[in-house]
Symmetry: C2
Subunit: 214 residues, 2 copies
DNA sequence: GTAACATTGTTAAATTTGTAACAATGATAT
DNA sequence: ATATCATTGTTACAAATTTAACAATGTTAC
């Protein structure tokens, strides 16, 4: 454990994840050093914010060359990743669930979707992008057996609270809920919720407010 | 225009969207009045926050019965919706794009996806959940012809900046970018970006930090 | 060598967001 | 009638986040 003794701000964590993704691209293009204003431009933010984030994680750049891309990637990895990686499951292998599996897998070495769950017999015991779909009745069993710690919920909204409860009982430590229905979890479980309709309505509100529509 | 003369906080807008969705459900169940603590519980937030949001939009509840569900829905509608509704297009009719179309449409009367765009000839001129897919070369034409003001980007990440630029030229006023690649737009265009990998990495970080993994 | 310069690291201020405190209200019970 | 009560509306406070300001640094040009 290097520099993340003190808790980092939520927003900094989000940006670190994004910095890393683009730093990896930079590295693959052979770029070895990068300035705060270059990172900033990639992400549409200010150089100050980049420098502040990097300060918080204890990274030092050099004055005339900026930050060492490889070092920075490693450091962010030490903060975001766990040594052996974490396992993820998806509950609800519908349109969104299948999209996610196809999209995520193979992108992160330290984070992989290893199981799916559904109630629909047509989907159970089939594979989706290499991920096996189990019946949701085996949720508890499989999660414990495989040491899965994170779950993504993509079942129909009404089912979400029920699924969340089962996940917590099964010992899940973090939940990403894509359902518009908010769920309750025990305080030791980290919960992140995202609602696409809200995002779209928010865009619509600001379009309206910018005076371009009434 | 009633009470949204002064700008409402970002976060309040997000919550209003969520309040409304659940208020509609309440109404459909015959519930006519609701207390701040009931709304709060649905969304895992505090009653104070609910009251504060409603204060900001100028809504008054009654003391013993709480808020009138129907009135509240109407008021939120006056804030979030435009009279004639706004039209939305999706650029990139892949896995995510198709999921979104299937999911969104029919859910909001004042916000509807009316067109899709893709480069793949196999997809062009087909319908997806009732939405026609045009070749992306016709982007400008169709957006202007149909008065589309909002776009959702779900093309491969590398294509996103290019697509965004075209959208802005075509006169789009708001963009929702689901690509992990950040895009630049003119300042009068409202931009919202969401990155699922970041969300998942954030969950993983907090799982790790809560001491459940190393 | 030294002046000019771009860039970093850090502290301070501003802004945004959430929380707490509490008076005001008016329905209900006695 | 009056006291009690749950609930609202609002103000004041606290926490989180972003932005600004600027000294420190070491490289480059001369
Ligand atoms: N499709 C999208 O683009 C999109 C976007 C945003 C949010 N969402 C949300 O994601 C959720 C799923 O959307 P979708 O379009 O994939 O729907 P879908 O109907 O295609 O998929 C839902 C899947 O969940 C399964 N399921 C139902 N009950 C279950 C249970 N108790 N346990 C396990 N599996 C169960 C169904 O068999 C089905 O396969 C919905 O809540 C929706 O609101 C979807
Ligand atoms: N699938 C997911 O669950 C998911 C989740 C998060 C983010 N994303 C992001 O969404 C984007 C799309 O993901 P996907 O899984 O749907 O990919 P996909 O490959 O299934 O779909 C991409 C579609 O875009 C089309 N396209 C390519 N270039 C285009 C252009 N210039 N103009 C118009 N259309 C073009 C392709 O023909 C294809 O139909 C990616 O950037 C991905 O990072 C996807």
């Amino acid at each position: 454990m290097i520099a993340n003794l003190k808790a980092l701000p939520d927003k900094t964590i989000e940006r670190l994840s994004q910095y890393r993704r683009n730093l990896l691209i930079c590295l693959s293009k052979g770029k070895q050093h990068i300035f705060s204003h270059e990172i900033a431009q990639i992400h549409n933010i200010t150089p100050v914010q980049v420098r502040r984030d990097l300060m918080l994680i204890g990274h030092s750049g050099t004055l005339r060359k900026g930050y060492d891309v490889k070092e920075l990637i490693d450091l962010i990895g030490r903060i975001l990743d766990t040594k052996d990686g974490l396992k993820v499951c998806v509950v609800g292998i519908g349109n969104l669930g299948r999209s996610l599996i196809g999209y995520f897998n193979g992108r992160r070495s330290k984070l992989s979707i290893v199981a799916g769950f559904d109630v629909n017999p047509d989907k159970v015991d089939k594979n989706y992008a290499g991920v096996h779909c189990h019946h949701v009745d085996r949720l508890n069993e499989i999660i414990k057996r495989d040491g899965i710690t994170i779950a993504i919920i993509t079942v129909p909204a009404e089912q979400a609270p029920d699924v969340a409860e089962k996940l917590v009982i099964a010992g899940i430590k973090g939940i990403l809920n894509y359902t518009p229905k908010s769920v309750n979890v025990a305080p030791h479980v980290y919960l992140e919720e995202y609602d696409m309709i809200t995002s779209l309505e928010k865009v619509a509100y600001f379009v309206k407010r910018n005076g371009n529509a009434e």
